[in-house]
């Protein structure tokens, strides 16, 4: 859903899923950590109305952190459950490190 391009907002076909997920994000606390962001992206409260943030069609969750210069990736796994990411990319060297290695 367009959020700030006026031309797009006028042409927007509307999207119930986006509207529900946006309302849910606004209802949650402002994120201040990677864990907070993971909790939002893994939120399934919307299951009751059919519009969760983390969905059956979510392929992967990616979180990039300036502090560590890393890209953390959970693959087909809810990131809010506290599990470590499956893969971490070092964005300084573009080297991939897999969990357990």
């Amino acid at each position: 859903m367009f959020k700030h391009l006026v031309q797009g907002e006028k042409a927007d076909a509307g999207d119930a899923s986006t509207e529900h997920r946006q309302q849910r994000v606004w209802a949650l606390d402002v994120p201040r950590s990677v864990t907070d962001v993971a909790k939002i992206l893994g939120d399934i409260e919307g299951n009751k109305d059919g519009f969760p943030i983390y969905r059956k069609i979510t392929l992967t969750t990616l979180i990039v952190s300036e502090k560590t210069k890393e890209l953390m990736i959970w693959i087909d796994a809810n990131p809010s459950t506290g599990g470590s990411p499956d893969i971490v990319w070092n964005l300084t060297s573009l080297v991939r490190v897999d969990a357990g290695v």
Binding site: G8, W26, V30, V37, I63, V64, D76, L91
Partner: protein, 280 residues
């Protein structure tokens, strides 16, 4: 032909995760995007052919066979070949490497534009993005990549590494089968981007495709690497988009973020203030 291809194949280094998920990274080293595409096509041939068997791909391929769909497909191929000749070379290499028709690779890379034109529009929900800062002001950006259950097992990582004299820059990211880097999460050592699909009521049947524009904006054009947020935004601001996209940009080196919305010739940038947050 075999002898010519052998040295190329030896440069391809597939890396497999050793634990739960064996999602591969196809790390290819090349001097040209054709060679890089060839290597990726060879390595990902299985996923590419499985993607071509999915109902979503078949419906899109059927759409471009005649009538308005065929006309739009021809116009999109024409416009993007003129604008992005090097990326078309990568697609040509991919088609040869995977031993599949080039038009199937084109369809894979024009999916957002073609699906938005289809009468029985396949409205696939896509993605959530969260921009945040920690208590020390360091950025954090999160993204859920959504598509379909059928596509889940088929995507992979790609890392393009230019050899001496190459006509492209380093680029890595998540790739859907048959699709070049740029559509899903993409990064180099300076920039990181993700994309959210938008759903305007109408889209053009010609013009620039989001995947190609985003690839150049995140990684580079030819030998010119994208290194700053301003440069990335400038490279997105081409005008003449066929459809639309919401692009989430993180400048890894500068430590700032912006959301960009593009729709046909419309373009707007929403900077995420230091210590601010935003969701898309």
């Amino acid at each position: 032909m075999l002898a010519m291809c052998l040295p190329i194949l030896l440069l391809a280094v597939p890396i497999f995760a050793s634990t739960l998920d064996t999602r591969p990274t196809y790390h290819v080293k090349a001097t040209s995007l054709y060679s890089a595409g060839y290597q990726i096509g060879t390595l990902a041939a299985t996923q590419i052919n499985q993607w071509f068997q999915l109902d979503e791909f078949k419906a899109t391929l059927a759409f471009v066979q005649d009538g308005n769909g065929a006309a739009a497909f021809a116009a999109l191929k024409r416009d993007n070949t003129i604008a992005f000749p090097a990326l078309v070379e990568e697609m040509k290499g991919m088609a040869v490497g995977a031993r599949v028709p080039l038009d199937n690779i084109w369809v894979s890379n024009l999916i957002p534009e073609l699906e938005s034109l289809m009468p029985s529009q396949i409205k696939t929900d896509h993605c959530t993005d969260i921009y945040a800062h920690d208590t020390n002001g360091h950025y954090i950006q999160g993204h859920n990549e959504d598509w379909s259950v059928a596509v889940k097992p088929l995507w992979y990582f790609v890392h393009l590494e230019p050899l001496a004299g190459a006509n492209f820059t380093q680029c890595a990211g998540m790739a859907y089968p048959g699709t070049i880097l740029g559509y899903a999460a993409t990064w180099n050592t300076y920039m990181y981007s993700t994309q959210n699909t938008l759903f305007p009521k109408t889209t053009r049947s010609s013009g620039l495709a989001c995947t190609f524009v985003q690839r150049q904006a995140t990684c580079g054009i030819g030998r010119s690497e994208t290194t700053t947020l301003a440069q990335s935004i400038e490279r997105l601001h081409t005008g003449g988009w066929a459809a639309s996209a919401s692009i989430n940009l993180v400048s890894l080196a500068e430590g700032n973020m912006s959301n960009v919305e593009a729709y046909e010739d419309g373009f707007d940038v929403m900077p995420v203030e230091k210590n601010g947050n935003y969701s898309q």
